[in-house]
Subunit: 362 residues, 2 copies
Amino acid sequence: MIQKPPASVGQRLDEVDTPALVLDLDAFERNLAALQRSAGGRVRVRAHAKTHKCPEIARRQIAFGAIGVCCQKVSEAEAMVEGGIQDVLVSNEIVGAQKIARLAALAERARIGVCVDNAENLKDLRDSKAKLDVYIELEVGMRRCGVPPGEAVVALAREVSGNLRFAGLQAYHGRAQHVRSLAERKAAIERAASAVRETKELLKRNAIDCPIVTGAGSGTYMFEVESGAWDEIQPGSYVFMDADYARNEWAAPLPRFEHALFVLSTVMSRPAAGVAIVDAGLKASSVDSGMPSVWQRPGLAYTRTSDEHGCIEGAPPPALGEKILLVPGHCDPTVNLYDWYVCVRNGKVEALWPITARGAVY
Amino acid sequence: MIQKPPASVGQRLDEVDTPALVLDLDAFERNLAALQRSAGGRVRVRAHAKTHKCPEIARRQIAFGAIGVCCQKVSEAEAMVEGGIQDVLVSNEIVGAQKIARLAALAERARIGVCVDNAENLKDLRDSKAKLDVYIELEVGMRRCGVPPGEAVVALAREVSGNLRFAGLQAYHGRAQHVRSLAERKAAIERAASAVRETKELLKRNAIDCPIVTGAGSGTYMFEVESGAWDEIQPGSYVFMDADYARNEWAAPLPRFEHALFVLSTVMSRPAAGVAIVDAGLKASSVDSGMPSVWQRPGLAYTRTSDEHGCIEGAPPPALGEKILLVPGHCDPTVNLYDWYVCVRNGKVEALWPITARGAVY
């Protein structure tokens, strides 16, 4: 069920079988550096591993200054700890006896944090005797999980006891990340910052220490940093960038990250003038946030998809058998389709990194 | 990189960890029987394995009368041959030296067919010395790969020589499958049938024998059967059905297939009245053809998704920790997210089938 790598070390990029998930190592490393240059020293960086699902990448994020990673699933956290990562926050609610038992087992092997938004769930975590850092998830505009600012946060924080440690607040405004206008993204984070400050003050009035406020994604994190309300940021997509993020307006204080992740495809049919069909469809590049874009071929556009095919239109049309790099519409679910990163530098395959948390859905 | 199964044999469904891909064996077997009852004896059934990616399922399709399977990728065909399937048509163009070499190796182990729509590609296949059944793909409304009806088909068929055998025509109208109105689906297949008949007559006038016309999907196959123009059908989704197919109008001559494939999810947050967040987002149920539907909870709807979360709204709201079955919007890319089918009968896990062609994208 593991697919063989579509490449071997030392091959030229044009020798790689397709579709393949290609990581441009130079661009990737520049992205790691750019993130740290912009935010490092001002807040802790806890990189989001849901994007890459790969301990090899997590280790490099830590080498560039991250204090650890976050994950969305217990199984992702298991893959990270298995891969040697010692500090993992599951930035999500973990509900159900089986999952809590797995989380407790993991907390024997590494420092593990988890989010809560419900007293019943918090009781189950407490009863598990697991040694966990607990973050209360604050609803700051995401409209998903989380407790709204107010007394409910205090009530929940008071219930964090036993082997559990109240580590602070999870405050992530995911909806703000893809708002195109920089000014609107900034305004959304300012509203979230007010909710965070109000909650911190409320906790303080109740003599509850709130060590860390964590949150923020690649599209806004400098606004969280500049607000002063967050202690830790959780960017994920910055390592790769994708076509959807590229549609955002980018300017200071956010650095301009580079596309480092690609799907290499092959033209498998030339059915008509100006039309080329490539072998990468929606099982090769997730289309939940739009079609992939065509890399460095300005006259061409990827116009429609089906399960195993993509349609590229424009001029000059690529030849049958030609290999085309695509920038995925959305990096996270695209990575989740592959077993291997084909890591390329100067047009040559330098390494193959296994995506060990691929499919780590539970 | 293979995830552990989320269940063990003998467990009750409500003990299965989530998200899990659940196959209702009774419904699945009734779907196998319904397909064969409607079409069997009138045409050959070559079930499409791109839907399920699982030799266990392919073997059952063959036990119910299918002559073999089709696949879209060489790597899928490899997984099927590895799983003991001896007759595989790659219903797609295979371009590039590496892929053709793998196809040739596979043809040493099983009966392998492949589609062509291009003379240059056909030459590469011929030069490989592989013993392959070659089908010319006819464009019948799919607007993807394929040769339009006419002299180009004859010219291509004349080039099928050496170890290659001209096996006939691939004529699949994928766009017709999801047209909601039964009458419009029928009309689309009648137009495709005209293109097939015209091409068969042209081949006959040129003294070229056309042994098999193959094609058709779950949404239309009885129209292909009744037209008399096809010898073989390629339905895939009928084994599972999905929420998108369920939106089609279903009536005779097509049987009403049952939902047999589900994503089991858990309510992980109850952030507001009438809102429940489940742990199955777009990495657990592909949303390219719409949101999943909620199974047998008529007051509830899955209204929005993010990578790892789904929002369920309505009444009566499910409780925290409650398990909810979802019907995937699109079965094929959803299956491609999982390593295991959790096969359930009478509420108990009967088997765990590995999805060996999961991620078989190249």
